[in-house]
Amino acid sequence: MFKKSAVLLKTMIRANSTFNILKHEKDKKKKRKMIGGIIGITCIYLMIIIYAGGYSALCGYSGMAYAVPASVGVILFAMNFFFTFFKADGYLFAFKDYDMTMSLPLSVKSIVGTRFLRMYILNLPYSLLVSASMIAGYAIYMTIDAWRIIVWIIGTFMLQLFAMVFASILSALISAAGTKFRFKQAAKTILTFAFCIFCFSLRYIIDATVAKDSVAVIDKIDMFNSGVNRYLFPAQWFDGAVSDYSVLQFILLVVVSIAFYELFAYVLSKFYRQINSRLMAVSTSKKKGKAKHIGRKSAVNAIAYKEFRRLLSSNNYLVNMCLGHVLVILMVAALIIFGVDKIINVAVEGAPVTKEMIIPIIPVIIHFFVGMATTTACSYSMEGKSYWILQSLPIEKSTIVKGKILFQLYLSLPLEVLGNIALSIACHAKIYEIILFAVCGAVLSIYSATCGMNCNVSHPNFEWTNEIEIIKQSTAITLYVLPNMFIMMILGVLIIFGGRIVNPDIEILAVTIIYMALAALFYKRSIKKAAKI
């Protein structure tokens, strides 16, 4: 049985891995492109190394090396939890080769196991990178012996396992609950969003209730031992095993993680067929009769509308693309209800930040959320096996690019402009600033749409079986998301510090102009590159 599962897993990974295609692909141009993609991803790995290694070295430098193991625990947990939570549903349920896989002579539990392991292996490079970079920073300030190294390595695997099982359980529960509704996708999406928002606010909920009287006791700077993190037992055990050489805590970490997985696989395999069968049944309209006719649209708008239906059709796609939008809407709602001072206070936990300090980075804050993801970074590849439709229709490739960009603009431009206006009014920005920020927001959202499109048409991939590969794992989306996220963070810092030398409004004006130029550049490049796909 074990051998058969191993074969299935191997085939599954091989069928989707870049290296397999690279090995058998004869087309030189395609090969070169793939190598380009690999170089891009390597750069991102380097960024992770610098970021994680730098973080732990900085901890050591400021005399807090003791906090590093707990941080590793929390970071690995959080990272793997979110990586998994947003894709587990696509990996575990209603995947394309479900019929084929289920017809193989394997137990349901080993099928669940291989699906899970597949995700596990895909996440592993990131966990190992973070963990290795952090132990390197840690080693500068702390003694490292065989025990610590072994615990660190095994602990990384276990922390990842624990976090992924936890995320998969929640995702499975949401999927199972979703099947109870007629509009399964909508129900699933609402549940997922509700859960995300709960997660983001968990810290404040606990701070406000459980930890109320202990706030004074907890050292605020030592954030990894406060709030929610005190309840994150695997991270605590990892910390104990590394820092205090506690064998008991190490055994707890290993045993609990594995037992947790076993239990999960066992229970899920009991309901697996049932959940999948329900999820794959597409509801058809109850009242049988002729479908209504639809009005005429231009070609570009027809494509934009098609993108809209595509986004609505998939829980994974919607949640991954619109989480930032939902957060901005909630933020604006909270601003209206609670007022800006209270929100700032909660967000920075009492650090001396005033609304005047926030004003210059308003466009950056809003864009950090709204620009977190963009449909254009995957919508071209999403055509997948249906790409023949667009290829055989009498339209220019540029029309496709325009339609897809247009849809992204419908989705994010109004929100980004309104978000900027709302936040600037709440912070009492001057009138001309409000206008400037609104324009900046519009430009940033155009930039995101074109930049994402450029990433996608540079690395198109139509040969996928599971949309999650495109939404979360594709070269295109990685090249869009990570660099832009880092750049926005750095930009925020630069604007604040630069504000001591130049007028912040001039900085924002400069940002607007630079991003406008970039947007124009990416738009041109997208159209040029799309013509060749």
Partner: protein
């Protein structure tokens, strides 16, 4: 008048072996042209290159006088294509999909609604058009694909294995539509494995073997008093 001209078309997928080697085919107005060959002979490759889905270097392909390489938009306007296994947009309803295609061809409301109603009735799927395509059976998808191909009344209809998966009544409807089209001076070009159908339906035929056309011409002239099956076996075994 030639509606389709494939001239010296060759294609290799990167390896040394050519999937298609010096293919020449001409389809004139009023023709129903059958394209026959073994599995892997190069039928789909030729068809995909013809409709602009597959890139190619060697040879030229003209649709109603427009080169698919140099004027792809003009060429595609007069043509419609249905692949052997149509992957449609699963997340649209049948009606939304048909309207999407009509939008791309810029067909006005009156015409598109008339045609959708007419063909949906012919293929008996009026009641399913409001449902998502992901809930359709294989044959239903094929029917929607066929309707979408007819919605702009193309001069040239290109089909890859159109009869696989259709029920007998739908297959008959497709055959009738093909006859109507050729009476109106349009043309149909399709690949098939069903030799009986090809023999009865087509006035012209080409047989392809390992990427090369081994015989092509008028069905009646080629057959004499043999059946198409005999001819197929003869040319593919011995040439």
């Amino acid at each position: 008048m030639e509606l389709l001209e494939i001239k010296n078309f060759s294609k290799s997928y990167g390896g040394d072996k050519k999937a298609c080697d010096d293919v020449n085919i001409t389809v004139s107005a009023g023709d129903i042209f059958g394209f026959i060959g073994h599995n892997g002979a190069g039928k789909s490759t030729t068809i995909k290159a013809t409709v602009g889905v597959l890139d190619f270097e060697d040879g030229e392909i003209y649709i109603d006088g427009h080169s698919i390489k140099k004027e792809p938009i003009e060429a595609k306007k007069d043509m419609a294509y249905i692949p052997d296994n149509p992957d449609l947009y699963e997340h649209l309803t049948g009606m939304q999909y048909l309207n999407f295609i009509a939008d791309i061809f810029d067909i006005d409301d009156v015409k598109r609604n008339g045609r959708i109603d007419k063909y949906a009735k012919m293929f008996e799927i009026e009641n399913a058009l409001g449902d998502l395509i992901s809930s359709y059976s294989h044959g239903m998808r094929q029917k929607v694909a066929i309707i979408s191909a007819l919605i702009h009344e193309p001069k040239l209809l290109i089909l890859d294995e159109p009869f696989v998966g259709l029920d007998p009544k739908a297959a008959l409807t497709v055959k009738n539509i093909m006859h109507d089209m050729c009476n109106e001076g349009k043309a149909v070009f399709f690949s098939t494995h069903v030799l009986d159908v090809a023999e009865k339906l087509c006035n012209r035929v080409a047989i392809i073997k390992q990427g090369r056309i081994v015989i092509t011409g008028d069905m009646e002239e080629l057959l004499g008093d043999k059946s198409l099956e005999d001819l197929f076996m003869e040319v593919t075994e011995h040439v």
